[in-house]
Amino acid sequence: MQVFHDVAGRIESRPLLDWKAQGKPIVGYTCSYLPAEVFHAAGILPVRLRGIETDGMDIGDVYFGPFICSFPKCLLQLVGKGKYRFLDGAVITPGCDSMRRLDECWRKAGKDYEGVLPGFYYYFDVPHKAEGHGLQWFVAEIEYLIAEVEDYFGVEITDEKLRASIAEYNKGRRLLEAVESLRTAESPVISGADAFSATIAGAIMPRGEFTEQMAAWLEALEEKPPIDNVQKRVMLIGSISDDLELMRLIESQSGALVVSENLCFGARREGRPVDESGDPVKALADHYLGASICPRMYGKYKQRRALIEQKIEGANVDGVIMQNIRFCDLHGAENALFERDLEALGIPCLRIEREYGPMIDRGRLKLRINAFLERIGRRKRNAG
């Protein structure tokens, strides 16, 4: 378990440095739409890029304007500071407008700061439709990506290799599903912070090592007693967050446990196992685009709400904390709709706006979360 916290808690973690020490390439990517299996099949370590450890914005603010989400700014800040010099490649995806503009800002920063732009730098286009011509477009995008990776790194990515990588990733997905069932159980044995650190680590560690560690952790969990005094079962949803401190802040409040989440660094990113039969590229496209539940896929609010409701019911959630990073309209607007509809169902909701990166507004968040948990507690007492 500790390895997951170590990996989730810092950028240059031990497994990543070990991989690099072996002379093997690492490619960073920015969004959950990228099929990491493509890189795994090429013997490349795909690493989800993060903005933790940011201690200023003097570089990010030079390239981005003022009305932009702090996540890509933090990424660019770290890029400029040389924190990602270990990357052999980077893939930018248009998850949202702020993130897609990281493409140009990073390239321009690469001209100002020597060595911060990796040799392999790729823009991976993702449509906003998961059916018909949208899906076809995405299939072609994966094929182009494969061709570019093969060409640049001098590797061959065969269907057999892709199938093997899908199978390896699926092992991890099944183990994460098992973790999810333990955390959502009536008497959970794991905290939200532990579960979240594992899912984050899954996007960073070499997949084989991740699978081994997950299996070992699950085995150890069989002996673990349930967590004491779980009085308020909370769900966390909203904008991109890989911030363990936010999870810990919620769980540091008396009796609160994050028993479920719907975050793109969380369990949602892995989703259900990818189809291992048939064309592997089509299977990856179906999984990464077709099963997408991110608000960038417009017009699918009802499906997303149904999923949230299903998770609420499955984890017996008492209340939902909805966070959005300032300037994240995608989640900001959708959180308002969730709040309207879930409150109508009698599910308490808290909407908070925050910045990505160091928890500079910890006090404010703590105060609001505390008040929300009090509301849940009062409601449960009245009901009981």
Partner: protein, 466 residues
Amino acid sequence: MRAEAKEYNYDWMMGSILEAAAKLPAGSRKETELTLRYIPHFKYALGTLLDTGPPGVQFLQMLSDYYKNIITAHEQGKKIVATTFCSTPVIFYAMGLVPLTFEVLTAVGAMVWKRGMFEYMDYGCEVGMPETSCSAQRGSLGAYLAGLGENIDLIVCDSPGVCDTNATAFAFAAEYLDKPFFQLNFPSTLGDERSQSYHVEDFKAMIGFLEKQTGEKFAFDRLEAYLKEIEIQDAITADLEDMLLLVPTPIPPIYTLMIYAGRFCFAGHPAYTRVLEQLRDEARRRMAAGIPGLRAGVEKLRVLMCYIDHYTVDMNFYNYLETRGIANTGSILTRNFRDSNTYCQSLEGSCYGIDTSTPEAMLETVAQMNARLPMVRSIRGPYDQHGMWFDECLALARLYNVDCIIYNGTSGCRNTWGMIKPFARDIENQGIPVHIMYDDAFDDRVESWEASRERLDEFFTVRGLL
């Protein structure tokens, strides 16, 4: 929102104001002057339009007609489709629908009202839209979310892939108002076979959606008539573009607003053709008489607005350009990117042609036309990619021989705020000064016009341009 703001149907109110304004020039000069005294908050904007003569009067009539269509749509048995400025209304007219474009209505409100659209913008936030969302939609949308406008029947947007905040506003409205929703979306490239094909497939899907919502089969003969009218409109626009090349240009700064607002409201409709004819005839008259487009009488400077204009109260921006002697060569909204335009010669793949020979050709035409509207055309991909924002601005700046480029947008625009700084640096490296305005085109509360004006003056002075 104040209780009194909820007393009036917003569409009826704005429609009535514009209808009365359009009738004003029919009276005597004395009547007009007296009326202006009774409308202290609208008189400057109205005066600015009336000062342009017949084009301004025709433009007011067109806006009045636009509102009349919305207000009477249901009486006529037509459905109202809420849509966005970067989506051509042609397809909706051909389907017998009445398009209602949030951004146009917000701009009209911002120019007409003393308080602009602030209360309606804030109402959008009251019901859950982020305060950081784009003011262009949030203004008029606020009225519809509050139930103060005509009942919207369906919602179509074409901004996914280009503008999250725009698309989010429409998706939010669809859920909040519980309306059928369709999105066209755009890949990050333009002009290549793959993206061209994507546009057509997307458009076919949209027609299927519209047929389902209206219960009617798409009528290609109606589309053909609209496209033929666009042929006429594009030819007139190309004439105006040519006159914009002249130094001094006979085109007044506000003409560009009338060119694009008309296209957003009535592309393919004779109401827009009448406005364009007036604009062209007046510009030709000025050209023949050697009269510059600027009231100042001297053209001291030429600017290119690389994004959008400034719309808040009283049309201050256009009057500012007039008084400083600055010719406005247009914004990202102005140009139609029809292949017959001079500027298309250096922007391969960015333009479209019209072919009405077969239904398939018409469909291809309207899909490609739609894909070349503002925003969806040149800020869909990395700004320095072939044919995108940098190429386009540089080509236009050189062709129109501008002295500087000015960026003005909204604080909700993640897309352009995400790269305006490196973009400006790249343009400056080409020897063209760039000024970034930190205001909001539709919301004076972000930065007052007076502050924006000071900063513009400072820029022109410091850079030695004026």
